[in-house]
């Protein structure tokens, strides 16, 4: 294990509570200031392509069917059928039951296949069920697992329980990359977001992710900023890089670019890659495509010129 040995599980609480606090007013004003950066012309064009390459194109509905998932996979492989220069997305993200369908549809494409697991989205299931959920997804072909933490346990101060669960899921994930969803909207404070970020990283997360997309507050720029600061500081302390994935609520190009600016000015180049930053989104992709076409052709095309997911 990475850092657990050096901290010691019994010290987890004092470690997490010893992290510097986050001032709410300050972090929100910093995020707002980053949001005023003006990204135009060539900078905008490369930002849009990067953002497309960072998308985890997602469908997480009770109504998901094989047909729907296959359509999404086709879209992810080739987001703009009219323009072969348009890059593919980073991954397709589905429920475990849909993994076999997606695996077949994505075979050979280089697009990753992410599956939510661990009784997504609430995480309110026995550990054995969560681990079985995870193993099933990996066996069916998922190479990325998006797990949820037990927010109830976290809020009750049972940090070791949350930690142990992440460790167990990481083990069950095998070679698959583990993204740990903090569900920041339920953690409520920035101090909790910072603590949960560190907790997940110490337990072995490859990525920390904001949200399930299923609660009232999903990804926000200041929350993502706090998480970026956490991965930055964690790498300095433990020499291991962890990725960040905001998910839910990022709907247009303008917002996506604000996130890229925030990466750029908080953690820099090293995270400006789909290996280290993802957008969990669905409707974002079509806006990126629309803006991309606008930059190449000089005019906006109507929504009918972009494919439905």
């Amino acid at each position: 294990m990475t850092a657990t040995a050096s901290i010691g599980l019994s010290d987890l609480r004092s470690f997490l509570h010893g992290l510097p606090g986050v001032d709410k007013v300050g972090v929100e004003s910093r995020a707002a200031a980053l949001g005023t950066r003006s990204v135009k012309a060539s900078a905008k064009a490369s930002a849009i392509d990067l953002a497309i390459r960072m998308v985890d194109l997602t469908t997480l509905e009770g109504a998901d069917t094989p047909g729907k998932v296959r359509a999404l996979c086709a879209k992810g492989r080739r987001p703009d059928p009219a323009d072969p220069s348009c890059p593919a997305v980073a991954a397709i993200c589905v429920y475990p039951a849909m993994v076999p369908v997606a695996a077949a549809a994505l075979a050979g494409s280089g697009v990753h296949l992410a599956s939510v697991a661990t009784a997504f989205p609430s995480g309110q299931a026995p550990l054995e069920v969560k681990l079985a959920d995870t193993r099933a997804a990996v066996e069916a072909g998922a190479d990325e697992i998006d797990m949820v933490i037990s927010r109830g346990a976290f809020l009750a101060g049972e940090y070791n329980r949350v930690f142990d669960e992440i460790v167990a899921v990481k083990e069950a994930s095998g070679a698959a990359h583990l993204k740990v969803i903090l569900e920041t909207g339920e953690l409520a404070t920035y101090d909790n977001v910072r603590r949960a970020s560190w907790l997940a990283m110490l337990a072995g997360a490859d990525f920390i992710k904001t949200s399930t997309g299923k609660v009232a507050v999903n990804a926000t720029l200041p929350i993502t900023l706090v998480m970026l600061e956490a991965v930055r500081d964690y790498r300095i302390a433990y020499n291991r890089q962890v990725g960040v994935k905001p998910a839910g609520g990022i709907k247009n190009t303008k917002d996506a670019i604000k996130y890229l600016v925030t990466i750029n000015e908080t953690v820099g180049d090293d995270w400006l890659s789909p290996d280290w930053f993802r957008f969990g989104a669905s409707s974002l992709l079509n806006d990126l495509l629309m803006q991309r076409t606008r930059l190449t052709t000089g005019h906006y095309a109507g929504p009918d010129y972009f494919t439905l997911d």
């Binding site: 510097p20 606090g21 986050v22 001032d23 007013v25 300050g26 972090v27 004003s29 910093r30 005023t36 950066r37 003006s38 990204v39 135009k40 012309a41 060539s42 900078a43 905008k44 490369s46 930002a47 990067l50 600061e229 890229l260 600016v261 990466i263 750029n264 000015e265 820099g268 180049d269 400006l272």
Partner: protein, 474 residues
């Protein structure tokens, strides 16, 4: 690196004439003796316009106009004066883009600051004091407070239009008339404001703008028919003004220099403290009298904090003030650049360690890279003298008592900052700091409702808020 393409704000939103006269009694006229001076764009050294230089006869004429206007202006019902102020505030909002570009051109400050800080605050100040105009009897200065008469006001170049607003808005709300002298290097926004006064159909003579250098200011201060002098600028000039006004019965408020301590305790929210340090000293190129120019950091976290600060400073973008992504613009004048350069060299000679991030400075214009000095002690000149530029002196302390002692160990006392997550500590320390403004877990935040002013050599009197009315009422 993800590089942002140039994003220049359009210059075409502002039309600058080749020459400007003095604004006296509602009209623009050349100076009596025809003297002019040039105002330049400090980012390019390009001449923006020629501006009339007011001599003693011009100042006489301006004060006479203000005196005549005082008769009717001071007897207007407060609710009527408020209408003019509300109108001015609205016009400022309507013309804010034009004024922001103008301010960045003449001053050198980045457009994001003139657009997002200066102009909104200018309008807010007029709105705020407009609200007081008909409620002066309830401000705590007696049931029927009276205006003083003609106010002679002299403002600095660091926030030209904002300092104008701080001076003119309370003066007019209370029924005074004004003769205002903008700084020699930044006269243009005051002249545009004169145009706004005409647009708002403000009665002639209520606001007069006399441009010029120090001599013009001295005539104005010494003019026997001026009842009130308000000055913002250097402590040196403030002293001269206090001397010349002494015994004349003129009322005086002075807002002078500062050498503020920004105190970071070991339990501070570090990432936000770093932001506060950066905005404390690099906001407006450090041309801020209340800048957090002395960083007092608890020794136990000094190394960690400085590491974060340097990393953050490496992302600062220095350059074209009109580019929307510029964080640090041009130094306002060659003279100011010389002073910053000189004091920085002294800092290095005295043994402090100097550091700046790598940054490419433009070839033309006046520029200074953001700079920090570590290993500074109370005995260094850069810890005592106001540099008024993007230069931070870093000192350390061990205990809260030592922090307070060091923070107060300065002839100045304009502002201070405290960074800690502990609320009780904020209250305890704030009560012990001899500074007019104490910010807690933030820095350089302004609001028209909040009084602003100094202790000791930072001046006397308060501007802003209910307190700001007092300086203009008898």
């Amino acid at each position: 690196m993800f590089s942002y393409a140039p994003a220049p704000e359009s210059r075409s939103v502002v039309e600058i004439a080749s020459s400007y006269g003095l604004f006296i009694d509602g009209a623009f006229d050349p100076s009596k003796d025809g003297n002019v001076f040039k105002t330049v764009n400090p980012a390019t050294e390009e001449v923006l316009a020629e501006v009339a230089s007011a001599g003693s006869e011009d100042v006489d004429r301006a004060v006479d106009a203000a005196r005549r206007a005082f008769q009717s202006w001071s007897t207007l019902p407060g609710s009527e004066r408020a209408k003019y102020l509300f109108r001015i505030a609205r016009i400022i909002q309507e013309r804010s883009r034009e004024l922001a570009v103008l301010e960045s051109l003449d001053n050198g400050k980045p457009i994001k600051e003139s657009r997002d800080v200066d102009l909104p605050l200018v309008a807010a100040h007029f709105f705020y004091y407009a609200g007081w105009a008909d409620k002066l009897g309830y401000a705590g200065f007696g049931p029927d407070p009276k205006p003083l008469g003609v106010a002679g006001q002299i403002i600095p170049w660091n926030f030209p239009l904002l300092m104008l607003a701080w001076k003119i808005a309370p003066a007019l709300a209370t029924g005074n008339t004004v003769v205002l002298k903008p700084a020699e290097t930044t006269p243009l926004s005051a002249l545009f404001f004169a145009d706004i006064c005409r647009q708002a159909e403000l009665p002639p003579g209520v606001v007069n703008i006399v441009t010029g250098a120090g001599d013009t200011g001295a005539y104005l201060v010494q003019h026997p028919d001026v009842n009130k002098v308000a000055f913002t600028g250097s402590t040196e000039v403030g002293r001269e003004i206090a001397r010349s006004v002494a015994g004349t019965g003129k009322r005086l408020t002075l807002e002078l220099g500062g050498k503020a301590a920004n105190i970071v305790f070991d339990d501070a929210p570090i990432d936000q403290a770093v932001e506060g340090i950066v905005s404390g000293i690099f906001f407006n190129q450090g041309h801020v009298c209340c800048a957090g120019s002395r960083l007092l950091v608890q020794e136990s976290i000094a190394e960690e904090l400085l590491f974060s600060l340097k990393r953050r400073m490496s992302t600062l973008r220095v350059g074209d003030p009109l580019d929307k992504n510029t964080d640090i613009g041009a130094i306002n004048s060659a003279a100011q650049l010389a002073r910053i350069t000189e004091l920085s060299e002294i800092g290095a000679q005295e043994g402090a360690e100097r550091w700046s991030p790598e940054c490419q400075l433009p070839d033309r214009g006046f520029w200074f890279a953001p700079t920090i000095f570590t290993g500074v002690t109370q005995a260094h000149r850069i810890a005592r003298e106001e540099i008024f530029g993007p230069v931070l002196s870093v000192l350390t302390f061990r205990t809260p008592a030592e922090a307070v002692e060091k923070a107060n160990n300065t002839p100045y006392g304009l502002s201070a900052g405290i960074w800690t997550e502990k609320g009780s500590r904020i209250l305890a320390i704030a009560g012990k700091l001899r500074a007019g403004v104490v910010w807690a877990n933030t820095f350089n935040k302004f609001d028209p409702a909040s009084p602003f002013g100094g202790y000791k050599e930072s001046g006397y009197g308060r501007e802003g808020g209910r307190h700001g009315l007092e300086a203009y009422l008898a």
